[in-house]
Structures are given as C-alpha cells and as structure tokens.
C-alpha cells in the first residue's frame, strides 16, 4: 500500500513538467496513461516502476489478422524463430472453449490394457520434455491476385513455440497399448468436438501432449489446458483442448479427414491422410509494404520442413535465373522454423527476389506451376510454392501475383 503511494507521488512529480498524462478515472483514482510520444527526454524523468505484468512498447503494434475461422501470424514483424504466444496463428472450427484446469480430464481407452483417466496434474507429474517446432495449417496458402499482400497474408498460418509436456509414448506405456492398435483417435472438447485419426507409429515416435508454450501455460487459443502435438504434421492433427484418445485398428474417417483436409490429385483421385508438411520458405524482409533503398539490403526470412531439418535455403535476386546460398541462423532444428539471411546489393533495377527451401531429404521447394502440374488445377491444401517479391524501380516491394493454371 505504502509502496503504491510512493509510486504515485513519483509519477505525479514527473508529470508536473512533462507529457505524462495523469488521468482521473471515474473512481477518482489518478492513473498514468503512458507516454505515447518520443518527445520526452527519458534521461530527465523517472519512468514507470516495476509491475506485475510486462507490456510491449507502445510504439510496437504486431497484430494477427483475424477472419471468422482463423487468424494469421504477422511474420513480417518478427525476428528469429519463436512466435510470441499471443501472435501464434489460430484455426479453430467452433471458437475457443473455456476449460477449467481443475476439472480437465484426458481419457485414454480402446485397444489398451488399462483404460485410464488423467487429470492435468497427473499429466504434469510424468517425466516432461520440451521441444521447439512449428505448427502449420495445411490450408496455409492464399492465391491473391493483387500486389498489396504481406507475408502474413500469404502464409501466416504457421507459428513456432517451445512446447513442454509429456511424450505420448510415456502415456501409451502407462495404459498398455495393445500390439494390434494401429491408429488412434484424438478428440477435442471444443464445440466442434474436433477429431482426427492418427497412425499409432507417430504416437510412439514423437507425439507429445503439451501443457506449456514458451515457458508458460499454453494459451486458450492454442489448446489450454492440454493439446496433442505432432511435430511436422498438418496443424489440424495436433488436436487442441484434448479430452480423449481412443486406440483402434483402423482410422475413424472423421469429417476432418474426408470432407476436409483431403485434396484432389491427378487422375481424379482424392488424397487422404496427407499428414506431413513439405518444405517451404518465405522472404519476410523485404516484402510488401516495405520500400527499399539502393545499396545493401539484407534479405531475411523463414524456412521449415515437416520432414526434418532445413539443409539449405537458396535465394534468387534475378527472378529465378540464378540461385545463391543463404546463411542459416543457428539453431537449425528438426521440423522447425529456421531463420535465414542473404546480403544483397540492389542496383536500383526492377527485379524479383525469391527463396526456396531444401530439406535434409533433398526435397526442393517447388513453384506453384510445378505443384499444379503434379496434382491438377482442382487441388487444394499442402501448397508450399516459392513466393516471389517484385522490387520496383522506386524501391517499392510488392507481391507478384501468379496465375492459377
């Protein structure tokens, strides 16, 4: 209490001579509303004292772009490989449920020796593991027909966190998964009661049930209090708000693995269980709406692959005629966003810049044309084409619309 008084007096003292706005609220309390302008000399005024919760600088406004069904990460505003939790993309099918961690339960049953219910604190007692990996929606592609498009618009449905939780294999052993179980159903407790069927092998290999994201409890939008995490696989399979796992000897053919998250491919076929996210990259700087100046420009961006590590990122600054190797920033992790840089001297001529990722399997990120040639024009999902940015004479960088053909 007395500390608060001291603090208020200090702030008032500062306000007497400067633009710190002290506002009287309806309760008659004096509050400081922040220092919106840089006009103050910060060396002449005591700033706000320590507080319970940190904030961004009032000069920074990174924001997700939200529609009715998703929100996209502002890739162009970020540095490095970790997505701040409040900027992690969202895709959910019936809103964000409010789940009480004290009554939360995870049921594991079906082809197991011991059907078991775990509370959240049970899950937290098991040996824990942390892992940095991306989560990307398999619908992470826009085919805009205009130039005013940002990296966020094109592929903002990918984000990366450090996730902490328990290996699913630990729980599989705990409940005694039977050898004949080949698939499991994961079910969420949102209003869509979202379900996906997953091969048991992924469960034994690297699946996790995570309850923490970037050092704190997982965010509600990302599955609070616990979600499945399947590194490298399309985001929809990493069921959020996980309430149930049912071991089985076949897939359940849920709506999300039939009507949705399947793609038409050549010869009239419909491809199903396309779990893995293929390698992709995007230049996040310079990109629309940035305007560059003649001289040295550091090209920066992200590359990632659901099949392993990024082996190489190549940059073209002449519309794909020649390619040069970009520098990869450590750490280069398995199934993780990897940061790349390439120093380029722009001579002021109109040109196109683009990046392509090569992963450790030797896969080379394709062009949109190559993808459509391989799958047909009716395809959808799992589109990971090279993205080109057009640098105009005045330095204005814009998206280069591509024909869907």
């Amino acid at each position: 209490m007395s500390q608060k008084m001291t603090r208020r007096r200090l702030l008032l003292g500062g306000a007497a001579t400067a633009a710190v706005a002290i506002v009287k609220t309806s309760f008659g309390k004096m509050v400081q509303t922040g220092i919106p302008e840089a006009a103050l000399d910060p060396t002449k005024h005591v700033g706000p004292l320590p507080s319970a919760l940190g904030t961004r600088s009032p000069f920074e406004h990174p924001q997700r772009k939200a529609t009715l069904t998703s929100s996209q990460t502002p890739l162009q505003d970020l540095y490095g490989i970790i997505t701040p939790s409040d900027l992690h993309f969202e895709r959910h099918h019936a809103g964000v449920p409010a789940i009480d961690p004290n009554t939360y339960e995870l049921l594991i049953h079906g082809m197991v020796d011991r059907p078991t219910i775990f509370s959240l604190s049970d899950l937290k007692r098991f040996p824990s593991v942390s892992r940095i990996c991306f989560v990307e929606c398999s619908g992470n592609f826009r085919k805009p027909d205009k130039e005013s498009i940002t990296p966020q618009d094109i592929c903002g449905l990918t984000s990366q966190s450090e996730w902490t939780g328990v290996m699913l294999s630990t729980l599989f052993r705990e409940v005694g998964v039977k050898p004949k179980a080949t698939w499991f159903l994961a079910e969420g407790s949102d209003a869509a009661v979202m379900t996906r069927s997953i091969p048991v092998s992924k469960g034994w290999e690297e699946a996790m049930i995570v309850y923490a994201q970037n050092g704190e409890a997982i965010r509600p939008q990302q599955g609070y209090p616990a979600r499945l995490l399947l590194p490298g696989w399309e985001g929809n399979t990493s069921i959020k708000w996980l309430r149930r796992i049912e071991l089985s000897d076949g897939p359940f053919m849920t709506r999300e693995e039939t009507s949705k998250y399947t793609e038409p491919v050549k010869d009239g076929k419909i491809r199903q269980f396309s779990f893995t996210m293929d390698a992709r990259s995007i230049i996040t700087y310079p990109a629309y709406p940035v305007q560059v100046q003649k001289g040295w420009v550091e090209i920066r961006g992200l590359a990632w692959s659901g099949r392993g590590k990024i082996a190489r990122v190549e940059i073209s600054t002449n519309a794909g005629k020649t390619w040069n190797i970009a520098q990869l920033q450590e750490p280069v992790l398995d199934k993780a966003h990897t940061y790349f840089r390439y120093l380029w001297q722009w001579n002021g001529d109109t040109t196109e810049i683009m990046s392509r990722a090569i992963d450790e399997t030797g896969y080379i990120q394709p062009s949109l044309e190559q993808l459509i040639k391989a799958r047909g024009i009716g395809t959808g999902y799992h589109l990971n084409p090279v993205t080109a940015w057009l640098v105009k004479r005045d330095g204005q960088v814009v998206y280069k619309p591509e024909q869907w053909k």
């Binding site: 076949g250 849920t254 038409p264 491919v265 010869d267 009239g268 896969y363 009716g378």
Partner: protein, 191 residues
Amino acid sequence: MFKLRMPYWACVAGIAMSSCEQRADAVPIHFGYGRAATANEIAGKAIAIPPSGIGLPPGNGTVQQGAVVYASKCAACHGVTGVEGPFNILVAPDTANAIPFDRAPKRVKSIGNYWPYATTVFDYVRRAMPYNAPGSLSDEEVYSVTAWLLYANKLIDTTTIINAKTLPAIVMPARKYYVTDNRKGGNGPYE
C-alpha cells in the same frame, strides 16, 4: 534433445528388453498416475463412429422425419434444399460422374460427390451440428437428418430406414477415388 535415456517404445516393442529391465536407472514402464476409467465413463464419451458402424446407437431414422428436422434446424444455414448456403453446401450440385475434381478448380465438394463414408455424416452431425446448438439432437433426429441428407444427395430412396445396420452398408460414390498420401520428400518428381 527430447529423447530420454531409453526410448520407451523400444521397451514396449521388446527391442533391447533385457537392457530395459536390468538398468537401475531405466525409466519405469508404469508410473501409476491417473485413475482407472469405468465402463460407464467410457461409454458416455466414446461417441466416434468408424466406417464399420461399431458404436452406432439403437434407433431408426426416416427421410420424412429428417425433412422436418432439416427444415427447422438446418435449413437456415445450409439452404432450403441443401444447396443455397450461406454455409457449407450439403447436397452435391452435380452427379458423381461429372468431371474429376483435379480438372475442375471450382467444383463444389459435398456429401454426395466427395464424402467416402456415410457413417461420417452421422458422426459429424451428432457431435458438431447444428452449429448454434451442437450436441442437442437426439439419436433418432440424427439418424433422420442423415437419412434426409443421403436422400437429397440421391444416395437412398424415400423408403430407406437409416439405422445401425443400414448406415454402414451404404456405398458412397466417392469412396473409390480415395488414395492414401504417398509423398515421401526427397528430390523425386513432385506429388
């Protein structure tokens, strides 16, 4: 970075079983956390219906009853006949034999021309629809509205009763087009 001393699955799979058991510091197979789930608890939660139809509840649905359910609880969002929207089109606007999807960028995908299993209709509607009141339909209502949707998609006639026996037996036209993903990475041709 996330591997513990001994991969758990190796113990379970019987690989290096002896070393699992002999090491004093080996990770235990069983921690004893959690509590046993009762048959009742499981029955109340195990609502997923696979193509075999195992788990389908008792009851019957008719196209006629389904038309009533659809008109009052679904049509506002999916259109009077299932094609008008504003939300997902539920009735295939063309026949199963129209040009394949890979050659038609805007071909509408719906139950009659794209869904591979009829059991999915029951499962999905029961868990997630109507969108504004998910989980509010009785099993009989779900059977009936499923019957209506199958009828509207020209997959059954007006006299077919939909229940735990008849639903899994329906062969969906799109079923034969489904293939499992075969992309493998590497620098072979794109797939």
